[in-house]
Symmetry: C2
Amino acid sequence: MELPERKKRILKAIVESYINTAEPVGSKTLVNSFDTPISSATIRNEMSELEELGYLEKPHVSAGRIPSYAAYRLYVNELMERHRVAGDELEAMRLMMQAKMREMDNIMVSASKVLGEMTQHTTVSMISHTGGRRVKKCELIDVDGGFTYAVVLVTDSEVKNKMLRLSQPVEPATAAVLSTAINLALSERRLEYLLPSVQQSMGGSSAVYQMTSDILDFIRATEAGGKPEVYIDGAARLLDNREYQDTQRARELLEYFSDRSRVSELLVGEDGPNLVNVRIGPELQDPSMRDASLVFTSYQIDQNTRGIVGIIAPARMDYADVYAKLIAFTQAISGVTGQGMKRLKDAGESDERRD
Amino acid sequence: MELPERKKRILKAIVESYINTAEPVGSKTLVNSFDTPISSATIRNEMSELEELGYLEKPHVSAGRIPSYAAYRLYVNELMERHRVAGDELEAMRLMMQAKMREMDNIMVSASKVLGEMTQHTTVSMISHTGGRRVKKCELIDVDGGFTYAVVLVTDSEVKNKMLRLSQPVEPATAAVLSTAINLALSERRLEYLLPSVQQSMGGSSAVYQMTSDILDFIRATEAGGKPEVYIDGAARLLDNREYQDTQRARELLEYFSDRSRVSELLVGEDGPNLVNVRIGPELQDPSMRDASLVFTSYQIDQNTRGIVGIIAPARMDYADVYAKLIAFTQAISGVTGQGMKRLKDAGESDERRD
DNA sequence: CTTAGCACTCGGGAATATGGAGTGCTAAAA
DNA sequence: TTTTAGCACTCCATATTCCCGAGTGCTAAG
């Protein structure tokens, strides 16, 4: 059941006023918000109906109304005006991204910082590996003292490494042979035969066997995905928001942020590629985030890697602004990822997105 | 000029009371703190003198006294009782460290988390490379698409890596030759001849020349030190402290923490090896930290690498407790760094430390 | 030098007004 | 039927006042 036009207009005005002021909105303050003159009494009637419909709440009887989560949802879906950021601002973003990329060498961090700078909110970044990762190559480098360093190349542009500590040293020559064997096994994707064959040919040297086993574990762990990499920037900005003046709530959220794996769970389940996703308060299913919203989108890094970047702020956030800035962000970032974006560009990049 | 015994006892009692309660301490509450009976009037006289000496302050006339920074300094230097944590607690710490190390694979993070768990404060970790880093080995790994991945081994146990992006692909065979040449140059420490010699022998292939130059830059940058790695854990715990109930102050500190390089500056200038360093409020020279203290120490990771780990909390923190726990921490960590601590142990580890 | 006694200060919590923003309802107007 | 003016009512927020009590400094006696 569609909401009548005037109710929508009133609800929109309430949401926007509340976003700006964080104060409950009364009927009188809304009178001036419309071109067609309308009395406060009429607005009151409408507001009372909107409350029955579940879009408004009152903190107490004489305090005006505040939007419910359902209202934010409706606002995001239907009411808000989707504007674009001005061209020069977009250009500024692009330059900033370029600068940060040079400085940081980590796209996750750069993305968070740029977006945080633009929106003045807490931002979260994640790298997501789609289509399963495949280890393509494994190099063993021996270090003094019997340690071996294993470097593993995953699909295109990602590298993982790990220091393997052995109880006994392994000869460099042996390591070289082992390395060849591993890479052969990798290219043929027959890892399961590696361990028995090593045991056979190496004459049961326990150190080599152990090392091979460790390396295989590492490869398997890498292919399985491992922990998601999550980066959060500007957490302190939470405290700028009126809703987190209460230190207890702020603490709960900050505490929550320190558990990266839980945060990463918020970011799963995108609505679709190239969309801006909005998750409002209770929709996040997480008690710590009950009064906060998360707005995020993703961008391609290379064929198998996507970056996810988003904003965490109180449910009373300027969705229209954040929305526009996220779209601008993905446009800006496609200009600077350079080589990594090669394929995407060849395929014809698209700035257009819908929700 | 040494403080008379009784003044010391009173000051100690005041500091400890204030540490516990965060409330200004009055003369009457102190009466029961001494075995030799002493009247509140006498204490008042003493307190008033301690105030003149700069050890106490009054928030207002009828509110008791609070310790000044000088008082904390005196407390740490002379007054506080240095106890050790119980053996079983030490053992618990060791186990926890072991578990975290397995889970984390990053000693900095593990150290911070364990210490944070023990003290319930915000902790900071840093890795410090003493005696200059030396690149010992450099491996080149080619990746599809003409990129080359450079892995650089620094001194003993540290590894740096970087993806070098070339405009033109380099043949794997060529890369192998180059790799050998680089490692030879590294072992002879004659990097400066590498570039000309490559140009000569490789017949001026611009791709190879470019790559060599990039690699040399990378090696030099690595040896120069690069950015310090700083990790902060449990920042949210700041908000548990009464002094940071004021969101503005809390925000300032949290903001400050996000600039890792500034935080790292707090940790330079140790009093000496194997000492617990205490920096109180204004001593930190940083306006953001004006009412906080930093207590830190360092532990050996390998011959050229030291970890620094510390606690950031309000100046009104339990120095004796934190002090003991830091000492316990270094004892505990020496039990789990394992191979990396080999040399240290051979040299005979020492638990004893003075200040 | 210590201590009891006492006047004095002052913050902060409780109790108490009071203003005003906002609502819901009713009845008249459109 | 919808809109609007009017009005009684609610209740939060703020200011004001009051007063208790913890604490001090000073003085004078022990």
